[in-house]
């Protein structure tokens, strides 16, 4: 039987605040009287990846040896949108934590991550990161709130085996949305599989619609000085929704389930029942390593572009610092990030050991990514780990080439997740109601989006 009243909900939400009161505003570490700085760090691999865990713990020991005045306490904490607020409220957020690109704008806006602009040594590796990627961790004023340590861009994932079965060339994937539509029809006609699919719920529908809008020529928020304006009701987004409508109601190449999140689409793709979908290129490990799809079946192509296309949306992991950290902890945290995530670009031994551990744990080395360091440094890293690369990089040559040519457009800067949630409904309406008016839906979404950006 259900528990009593909505008070249960109030109690649940407020429990975080209670813990906050009692936790003495911990930053997950401390500065001791003997001058030692203690930091807690996230993303310690679990015991299901013993080699990676051992490497991580060895790296902690090596770091502490190199920095005798810093103590590192690793934890298996990983980012989850629905636990982060409680973690912050309860004072258990690690000093250094990895969060996805998609969350950065919200965290920055709510002041829930530390401003590290002054703490980054511009002469160090962290000061010379790929500017295109670094932008996701900055606000409109150029202040920096995190260090991107892994990046990818949104791409077109396609099943090479289904392409072959449908008589399409798997080495020549679609480059425009019209070609995607034709390929979807061919797959639908010539195989038992569904031509195309798209995410629609848990804010992913809006995420992909935003990606589509970028590729057709418009962002969803315009920045003018310090003023952000909602621009949801635009031609590019309308074209993207028309594209969905055509595939759903005219071509019938979008299947029958339109309540899909990130995991659902990956499951369907890995099961070989779907020809194509828009997804981050980093999903390789998920569909191949975790879901068991044949590596030879996975094709990754650059995001198709319209003539007016702006580029593609980026994704990845940013290391952020607890906003309650002391200046010493911020400095120690950045030292740790540089040591953990960037040593492999400067130290061949570290690079090779890391790659060997990854392979030993059954994960992938050489996945398609957007380098967070400059191209020369990244190419050098690839040459070091060449013997360990276990993915067929020749299957996504075009994508790899595009990472240096196709611009990466950042997420909407104000309340991106809330904007995506609004757009989820728009996408779902177009896919489940044949008579849905795209103009009306966009006008309504524009109104809601304006409320988000209102001062």
């Amino acid at each position: 039987m259900k528990k009593q009243f909505g008070t249960r909900l109030i109690a649940g939400i407020a429990a975080g605040a209670t813990l906050l009161t009692l936790s003495a505003c911990s930053a997950g570490g401390q500065d001791s009287a003997d001058g030692t700085t203690t930091i807690t760090v996230s993303d310690l691999p679990g015991s299901d990846a013993p080699e990676a865990r051992k490497i991580f713990l060895d790296r902690v020991a090596a770091f502490e040896k190199q920095h005798p005045d810093i103590t590192v306490e690793p934890s298996e904490t990983i980012w989850a949108a629905d636990t982060f607020q409680a973690m912050l409220a309860g004072g258990t957020m690690p000093t250094v934590m990895g969060v996805p690109f998609t969350e950065m704008s919200g965290l920055i806006e709510r002041g829930q991550v530390a401003d590290i602009s002054d703490a980054i040594d511009q002469d160090s590796v962290l000061g010379g990161l790929n500017e295109n990627v670094q932008a996701v961790a900055q606000n409109a004023e150029g202040q920096t709130f995190g260090v991107p340590v892994a990046a990818y861009s949104m791409s077109l994932l396609y099943n090479r085996e289904l392409f072959t079965a449908a008589g399409l060339d798997p080495d020549d994937p679609p480059t425009t949305w019209d070609e995607v539509r034709e390929a979807a029809k061919t797959i639908e006609d010539k195989t038992d599989a569904q031509g195309f699919q798209t995410m629609t719920k848990d804010s992913t529908g809006g995420w992909i619609l935003t990606t589509q809008s970028y590729s057709r020529g418009s962002e969803l928020q315009a920045l003018d000085g310090d003023t952000v304006t909602a621009t949801v009701d635009n031609d590019a987004t309308k074209q993207a929704l028309e594209f969905y409508r055509t595939l759903r109601w005219d071509d019938d190449t979008l299947g029958s389930n339109f309540l899909l999140n990130w995991g659902d689409v990956n499951n369907a793709f890995a099961a070989g029942t779907v020809g194509m979908y828009v997804q981050g290129a980093d999903v390789w490990d998920e569909v191949v390593t975790n879901l068991g799809m044949s590596a030879d079946a996975v094709g990754i192509a650059p995001l198709p572009q319209s003539p007016d296309g702006l580029g593609t949306l980026g994704g990845g992991t940013v290391r952020v610092i607890n906003p309650k950290a002391t200046p010493e902890q911020v400095a120690a945290g950045l030292d740790w990030v540089e040591f953990l995530d960037f040593s492999k670009y400067t130290d061949e031994t570290v690079a090779v050991d890391d790659a060997k551990a990854t392979v030993a744990d059954g994960a992938s080395v050489g996945m398609p990514v957007v380098p967070v360091v400059d191209t020369d440094t990244y190419d050098q890293y690839l040459s070091w780990v060449d013997a360990e690369i276990n993915v067929p990089r020749e299957h996504f040559t075009a994508y790899i080439d595009s990472t240096t040519t196709l611009p990466i457009v950042p997420e909407p800067s104000v309340k991106a997740q809330e904007l995506y949630a609004i757009l989820d409904s728009v996408v779902q309406a177009v896919l489940t109601q044949e008579d849905a008016s795209i103009d009306d839906l966009l006008a309504q979404a524009q109104k809601s989006a304006e409320a988000l950006t209102a001062p």
Binding site: A17, T18, F84, L88, G111, F258, L259, S425
Partner: protein, 319 residues
Amino acid sequence: MTSLLDGPTTAATPPDARSASPAKRRSPVTWVRRGGLTTLLFFLPLLFSFGFFAWFPIVRGIVMSVQQTNFVTDPAFVGLDNFAAVLADPVFPTAVGNTVLFTVLALLFGFPVPLLLSVVVAEFRRMRGFASVLAYLPVIIPPVAAVLLWKTFYDPRPDGLFNTVLGWFGAGPLAWLNDGGLALPAIVLQATWAGAGTATIIYIASLMTIRTELYEAAEIDGATVLRRFWHVTLPQLRNVIFVMLLLQLIGTFQIFTEPYIMTGGGPDNRTTSILLLIYRYAFLNGDYGKATALSLMLAIFLALLSIVYFRLTRRWSAS
């Protein structure tokens, strides 16, 4: 009828107990001598547990509903802004409408089912225990697993489980959760299946307490099964029915797990409930002010609903 109700209540209160104040009856010394300290000692853990884990968070929740907080800097007092923001949210009326519709449908289908099921099971001469276990079985399945199972049943493809069954009769296939008009009723069906077991067991237990003489007398008077149900069973169960109805009303207003897992509130917010909206505010948008404001509004509404409900049903309960 009201005077009948009030009469015994007044008469049942001893006159001396009403007139004597606690101060006159016992001084602090006599209180200690009579074991008051020991009582207090035993009471403290309870007071601490409830105070710390229930009352204090509730009070904090109320305070947070008039604050804006990010859990980093000091919260700012914003008056009723959070309440205004919730009321201005275009999804809010949709969520309220969905929740009310869910409640109505759940009561319409979910309330009579366990009642009738319990009457049928209670009629069993043999294997009543087995039938009770069967009725209760859905409750034993963890809610998340059960919801995921039903989500699979609602597969919109022609070879989905329910669509296959419909196909046998030449009907369907239906889009189920992907159809804005069907999604909410589909969730009601699952929730009724999942919740009927507990109510059935409680009704069966109550039915066992009804004196058989009443049924025998009714049978001698020539009452049919339906008349016996209407004139004997229902009146004898009325107090249990009142409580169960109220609990179900409160429970259905707090529907969350089913839409959260099955549809995420879609399609096009057609299954977004009030609690799902609260969840989004708090845990996805990080806006605890709006989340606690809406929680408080829901709690106040349910409290008022309970009071009205008790007032409306008091007459029948007492008769």
